[in-house]
């Protein structure tokens, strides 16, 4: 089992003068897994990624990459990682081919395998057409792809992507997400992002980091379950008085959105939609909308991060 852990991070701390950016973070990444890393700005996402990729030294803690200790054997361990930082590290004066060849050599690929590696990376990232163009002249989306190609050129065990879809158009975003899923099949992928639906779509597991601490770590399916609706939007042509709606079985509260639309809050276990529809038809309320409201990941995110804050607040008091 242990061999399947591509990354294991143990009790990671990182202090900057007077500020603890990362506090006791421990997690694991298994082969074939896409791990989403979420957190508000300044939560320590990027710091954690920089530490894992060897760009920043941790104050204390241990990082094993494919069984290699990053601090004791940085060279071997770094060879197992591909990293796309927030801003892709490109040499804009080179062509895509030149740049990728250079990256391949930096990662100590054998001379005779370089061409094949470059071709494969280009093909996976959809860069075949632009190989001879200067990176500087490429659009932001293509530059981002070159950044990803750079991260996967040496087929590392782990690919770390820091906000890979920022600044891309919707089609490109979809392509990149597909690519991430594809990468997740062979490699382990760590993905940091602000965009919450992206996590739902691409990740197997989610970790939420807030103020340097991991506050949530679970399977995406469980997260989906937490997102299950506990409210309905009800639209009626001839609505009855609000208290009649409130008296319907299973309804905890009613909020009027406008003259015809209401939000009905109910217990998460029981869905009263069927009863409401029946009532509406019998009473002739003129039902035109009845939709379960999904909690967005945003809401869960806010719930988790803010409950964490109030927890620490009470501890302090």
């Amino acid at each position: 089992m242990h061999n399947d852990n591509l990354i294991s991070v143990e009790h990671l701390y990182r202090r900057y003068a007077g500020l603890v950016a990362v506090r006791d973070v421990s997690f694991e990444l298994r082969r074939g897994e896409v791990l989403g890393f979420l957190g508000p700005n300044g939560a320590g996402k990027t710091t954690t990624m920089q530490i894992i990729t060897g760009n920043l030294a941790p104050t204390s803690g241990r990082i094993l990459i494919n069984g290699l200790d990053l601090l004791d054997r940085p060279r071997q361990a770094k060879g197992e990682i591909g990293y796309l930082p927030e801003q892709p590290p490109l040499y804009r004066e080179l062509t895509v081919d030149e740049y990728l060849r250079f990256c391949a050599r930096l990662n100590r690929l054998r001379r005779d395998t370089i061409t094949a590696a470059v071709d494969r990376a280009k093909q996976r990232c959809g860069l075949e057409q632009v190989g001879r163009r200067l990176i500087n002249n490429l659009s932001k989306g293509y530059q981002q792809r070159v950044g990803i190609a750079q991260a996967i050129i040496h087929s590392p065990a782990v690919v770390v992507l820091d906000e890979p879809t920022v600044g891309l158009d919707p089609i490109q975003i979809r392509e990149i997400r597909e690519l991430i899923r594809e990468l997740g099949e062979e490699h382990g992928v760590i993905l940091s992002t602000h965009i919450l639906p992206e996590v739902q779509m691409t990740c197997d597991r989610v970790q939420i980091i807030n103020r340097g601490q991991l506050v949530f770590s679970d399977h995406v399916d469980n997260l989906d379950r937490r997102m299950q609706s506990s409210s309905l939007i009800l639209g009626l042509q001839q609505p009855p008085a609000q208290n009649i709606l409130g008296a319907l079985p299973g309804i905890n509260d009613v909020q009027a959105l406008d003259n015809h639309r209401f939000r009905l809050l109910h217990a998460a276990e029981a869905n009263p939609a069927k009863a409401i529809a029946q009532q509406a038809v019998e009473q002739g309320w003129g039902l035109f909308e009845l939709t379960p409201e999904h909690k967005t990941l945003e809401q869960i995110f806010v719930e988790i991060t803010s409950s964490e804050q109030s927890d620490t607040g009470t501890e302090a008091a």
Binding site: R15, Y16, A17, T53, G54, N55, L56, A57, P74, R75, Q76, K78, G79, I81, G82, Y83, P85, Q87, P89, L90, Y91, R92, E93, L94, E98, F102, C103, R105, L106, N107, R108, Q150
Partner: protein
């Protein structure tokens, strides 16, 4: 191996920007002008020189003039070359690529430095073409010429080491350039104070520190290990400092 990959890219990047070309062109032009004027002077002085017991040759008069001026021009040019080496990579965040690759900091610095040396060697050789052209007209003191080329190359190698170090200190290439220039100028003139103070001990130390003195002895053909050691020590110190500085990036507090 990895060092050469880095050096090669560094050189390539230099020549992909117009900076390297314009530096080479301007230097060559100015030195060619100087070379021709001093050659002209030499030829007009020739009758009077003939009357001396052991007249100084073209190598001592003309060529030494060229290399002396070249050293001075390099003092202004090298900061422009070295200023962007690390600071620009930091600014563009492309340094992350090197930090995440399986490379040690030593390899990164040596690679960059070697790339710079490659350019400086090329510049030195191009300058040397002018004195060598005199071989068509007559004999040259080739030993002395070689000593001059070596002196110039070692001098510029020192300049590059300081420039590289100062480039690791800042994000702004211009600040790296101006501080490198300041440091080089100070090293150049540091023995002037020693001359005036009249204090033998102090002037000895300052004279030893002055990079110009070591350059002058070597380019006069006096191949002393002190000078060579001075240059090598100088380069090593600044390279080690650069490596330490780059490593501190990871440890920043």
């Amino acid at each position: 191996m990895m060092v050469f990959t880095l050096a090669q890219r560094e050189l390539r990047t230099l020549f992909l920007s117009p900076l390297a070309w314009s530096i080479l062109a301007v230097m060559q032009f100015i030195l060619a002008y100087l070379f021709l004027t001093s050659l002209n002077d030499f030829i007009s002085l020739q009758p009077r020189l003939q009357s001396l017991e052991s007249p100084p040759g073209a190598t001592e008069l003309v060529v030494a003039q060229v290399y002396g001026s070249a050293a001075f021009i390099f003092m202004m040019v090298v900061p422009l070359l070295t200023m962007r080496v690390i600071s620009e990579e930091r600014r563009n965040r492309s340094i992350t690529l090197l930090f995440s690759a399986p490379l040690s900091m030593t390899e990164i610095i040596l690679g960059k430095y070697l790339g710079l040396l490659g350019f400086l060697l090329l510049a030195c050789l191009m300058i040397s073409l002018m004195p060598l052209s005199l071989l068509f007209a007559g004999p040259l003191d080739l030993g002395l010429l070689l000593a001059m080329i070596l002196a110039l190359f070692l001098l510029t190698a020192c300049f590059a080491a300081i420039g590289l170090f100062l480039s690791t200190l800042t994000l702004q290439p211009t600040i790296a350039a101006i501080s490198t220039f300041g440091a080089l100028l100070l090293l150049w003139i540091i023995d002037w104070a020693g001359d005036q103070a009249g204090d033998i001990d102090a002037s000895g130390v300052l004279e030893y520190l002055s990079i110009l003195r070591h350059f002058e002895t070597l380019s006069r053909g006096l191949f002393s290990s002190t000078d060579i050691l001075y240059f090598l020590l100088f380069i090593t110190v600044f390279l080690v400092l650069s490596i330490r500085r780059l490593d501190a990036d990871r440890l920043q507090h």
